[in-house]
Amino acid sequence: MTAQALAQVLASGLLMGLIYALIAVGLSLIFGLMDVVNFAHGEFLMLAMYATFGLVVLTHLDPIVLMPVVVALLFVLGGCAYLGVVRFAMRAKANQGMVQIFATFGLAILLQGAAQYAFGTDYRNVPGSWLGGRTLDAGGVFLPWPQIFGAVVSLAAFGGLHLLMSRTDFGRALEATREDQGAVALVGIDRNRVFALGWGLGAALVGLAGAVLAVFYYIHPQVGASFALIAYVTVALGGFGSVGGALVAGIVVGLVEAFTAVILPPAMKSVGVYALYLAVVFVRPQGLFGRL
C-alpha cells in the first residue's frame, strides 16, 4: 500500500468518522439526560434529509442556507416526540427500559411508513447544491467538499455543545437533571421541560447531520437504518451519555471501518467496528468515556 493510498484511507476514515460522531451525539445526549435509547434516531436523520430535500425543492435555496431551518424543524420534532410518546413511556412504573425501547421502535416504524406515504418510495437527491460533487485534490488525496464541510460542521457542533453545556443556564439545568432527576424539582427546575428541550436538542443535532448528509447521499424512507446501527455502536463505544466520548468514538469508528476494508474483504468491513466495540467493552464495560 502506497503512502498516498494510506493517506487517502486515513483522510476518508477521518471525514466519515466526524460525520458518524455528529449523527451519534444527539443519541448520546438524550441517553445521558434520561437513560433512554431512542430507537427512532435513524428515522430522525431520514426526516432531516427529507426536510432538506423538500425545502430545497420549494425555495431553490442552497442546502447550506437552509440548514438552520432543518435544525429548527427537527428541534420541534424531537420535542414533540418526547411530549407525545416518550413522556408516557417514562411514566411506566414497571419494566421501563423495555417500554422505552419499544415505544421508540414503534415510533421509528411509524415515521418510516409516514415518509413512504408522504414522499413515495423513490430515491431522492438534493438538486444542485453549491458543494455537491466538488472535490479537493490535495496532492493525489481526494477530499470531497461536502464531507469536509460535514466534518467542520461536526467539530463546530461539538464545540457549541460544549459551550452550551458549560456556560448557559439551560446547559446547567441539563447537567443538573442528568445528575439527579429528583433533586432538580426541589430547586424549581421543571423536569419535563428540560427533557423536552433535551430531546429537541438531540434531534436538532441529528437534524444538522441530516442536512449535511443530504448534500452527498441519496434519500429514502429506509436510509436511516444504514446509519442507525453505526450510531448505536458509536454511542456505546464512547460511553452512553458522554458527549466527548461520542466525538472520539465516531472518529475511531470511521478510521477502523476504513482500515478494515483494506485488510478484510470489503463486504465485511463492519466486522472491524463491531469487534472493536466488543474488545473495548470487554475490557471497560462502560465504554471509553462512560460513567458507571
Binding site: 484511507v9 476518508s12 413512504q116 437527491n125 424512507p221 471501518e257 476494508a261 463486504a267 465485511m268
Partner: protein, 417 residues
C-alpha cells in the same frame, strides 16, 4: 364474485378442488384473476410501485381495445375465454422469501388466481416458484435473473426474459467485438453486492473472463446499503481496470458513482449488469457522471424507430408512472402480455391447462416490445430467444449499441479516454 360463490357453495370440498386447480367447471368465466407479487414496502419498494404501473399498462392493453400489434391488444378481453377480462390482485412480499411464499399461497387459495407474476428479488422468486409448483399454478417470472431459478426442474416456472448468464455473455461478446476492432481490453474489475443477484452475476462474469482471456484485477464484494463505499472505490481505483463491471441495486449504484467522482476516479469504461444502472433515480441523481456508461438490457426505447407501437406503449406507461419504460418495467409488462396470450389459447382458468398453453407459446419478436427474436419456452421454462442488448447512456437517454443487428449507433469507447 366467483370467489364468494365458490366458498359458499362448495365449502371445504371446493377449496380442496380449487387448490388443485380444478375448480367447478365454468363454461365462460367473466374474468381471470392473476396475482402480482412485488415488494411494495421496504428498501426496494420503488421496484414494486413501478411494476404495478407496468403490469397495469399491459392489463389495459389486454382488457381494452387497442390498435397495437401485441397479442390480445385488439378487441376487449380474451377471445379464447369468451371475452373474459383479466383482474389483477397485487400483494406485497417486502423482499422476504417467507412472506413471498405466504402471499403466493394466499393469492392461490383465497383469490383463486390462475397464475402469478413476480417477484424481482431472486430469493423471493425462489420460494414463490416452489409454492406455485406445489399448487399447480403457473408462475411467470418477469424480472428475476438468477440462472438457478430455471434449473430446479419446475414444471410451472416460465421466464420470458433473459437470465444473468445470457446477459453476461452478451457483455463479453461485446468486449470481444471491441477487441476485434483493435481496442485494448485486457482487464476487468468486478464490483458486486452481497446478494443472490450480485453473487450470481459475478460468478458468471468471473467464469467468462477466465474463458475469454480477460484478467480480473479487482474482485470486490460489498455489503449492500453501506453508509460509505470509499474504501471499496479506493481499491477499484488502484486496480484501474479497462472495464468496470458493477452489479448493484439503485442505492449502491448512486453511492458508487458519487464516491468514484469524489475520489477523482473516472473508470475507463463501465459495463453494468443493469439493475440500479437502469433506474431513473440513478440517472436523475448522478447521470452527469455516467455519460458513456454501457448497461445490459432487455429493452431499448430506440427500437421504437423500427416498431412504432413501442412508443405508444411507453407513452401509456409514462402517463401512469411519470417515467420511461426501462429494463425491469419492460419485462414486467411483457410478463403479463405473454401470460395473457397463454390464457387466451388455453381457453381455461385452470393451472395445468394454462401451463400447457404457456409451454406451447410462440410469439414472434415483432409482436413484443422487446429486441427478442421470439418468445418460446424450453422444457425448463426459460425463453432462450430473449436476446439481450447493450445500451449506452448518452446525453439523457440510452442508445442501443450492441448487437450490431439492432444497434442504432456505434459505441463510444472507452467511456472516459
Amino acid at each position: 364474485m366467483i370467489r364468494r360463490r365458490e366458498i359458499l357453495t362448495g365449502g371445504a370440498g371446493a377449496l380442496a378442488l380449487a387448490g388443485l386447480g380444478l375448480g367447478p367447471a365454468r363454461a365462460a368465466p367473466s374474468e381471470v384473476v392473476v396475482g402480482v407479487l412485488y415488494a411494495m414496502s421496504g428498501a426496494n419498494a420503488q421496484v414494486g410501485v413501478d411494476a404495478r404501473h407496468a403490469i397495469e399498462t399491459a392489463l389495459d392493453i389486454v382488457n381494452n381495445d387497442h390498435d397495437l400489434d401485441l397479442p390480445n391488444a385488439k378487441g376487449t378481453g380474451l377471445k379464447g375465454l369468451g371475452g373474459a377480462k383479466i383482474r389483477l390482485v397485487f400483494a406485497d412480499h417486502q423482499s422476504d422469501p417467507q412472506k413471498g411464499r405466504a402471499e403466493a399461497e394466499r393469492l392461490i387459495t383465497q383469490d383463486k388466481v390462475s397464475a402469478i407474476v413476480g417477484c424481482y428479488q431472486s430469493a423471493v422468486s425462489s420460494t414463490v416458484s416452489a409454492t406455485c409448483e406445489r399448487y399447480g399454478v403457473p408462475f411467470v417470472c418477469a424480472d428475476s435473473s438468477s440462472p438457478s431459478l430455471h434449473r430446479k426442474g419446475l414444471k410451472f416456472f416460465f421466464r420470458p426474459a433473459a437470465h444473468d448468464e445470457m446477459f453476461s455473455a452478451a457483455m463479453f461478446d461485446f468486449m470481444d467485438a471491441m477487441r476485434n476492432k483493435g481496442e485494448k481490453i485486457d482487464s476487468v474489475a468486478l464490483f458486486f453486492e452481497d446478494t443472490i443477484f450480485g453473487v450470481d452475476s459475478s460468478t458468471v462474469q468471473r467464469k467468462l473472463a477466465g474463458e475469454r482471456g480477460y484478467k480480473v484485477v479487482s474482485d470486490i464484494k460489498y455489503k449492500t446499503n453501506s453508509p460509505s463505499l470509499t474504501a471499496e472505490v479506493q481499491q477499484i481505483k488502484t486496480a484501474n481496470a479497462d472495464v468496470l463491471m458493477p452489479s448493484s441495486y439503485t442505492t449502491d449504484a448512486i453511492l458508487l458513482t458519487r464516491t468514484m467522482a469524489e475520489l477523482g476516479y473516472k473508470p475507463k469504461s463501465i459495463i453494468a449488469q443493469a439493475s440500479g444502472f437502469s433506474e431513473k433515480a440513478t440517472f436523475d441523481t448522478v447521470g452527469d457522471k455516467l455519460q458513456g456508461l454501457i448497461s445490459r438490457a432487455s429493452f431499448s426505447l430506440d427500437l421504437a424507430a423500427k416498431r412504432p407501437m413501442i412508443k405508444t406503449v411507453n407513452d401509456m406507461y409514462k402517463a401512469r408512472a411519470g417515467r420511461d419504460l426501462n429494463d425491469n418495467t419492460s419485462r414486467q409488462f411483457m410478463a403479463l402480455i405473454v401470460l395473457a396470450d397463454a390464457l387466451d389459447r388455453a381457453g381455461s382458468v385452470e393451472g395445468p391447462k394454462i401451463r400447457e398453453a404457456l409451454a406451447a407459446t410462440n410469439i414472434p419478436g415483432e409482436r413484443t416490445i422487446m429486441p427478442w427474436s421470439k418468445v418460446a419456452f424450453g422444457p425448463d421454462g426459460q425463453n432462450v430467444n430473449a436476446d439481450p442488448v447493450l445500451l449506452q447512456y448518452v446525453g439523457t437517454s440510452f442508445v442501443t449499441v450492441f448487437p450490431e443487428a439492432v444497434a442504432v449507433s456505434p459505441a463510444k469507447w472507452p467511456m472516459n479516454a
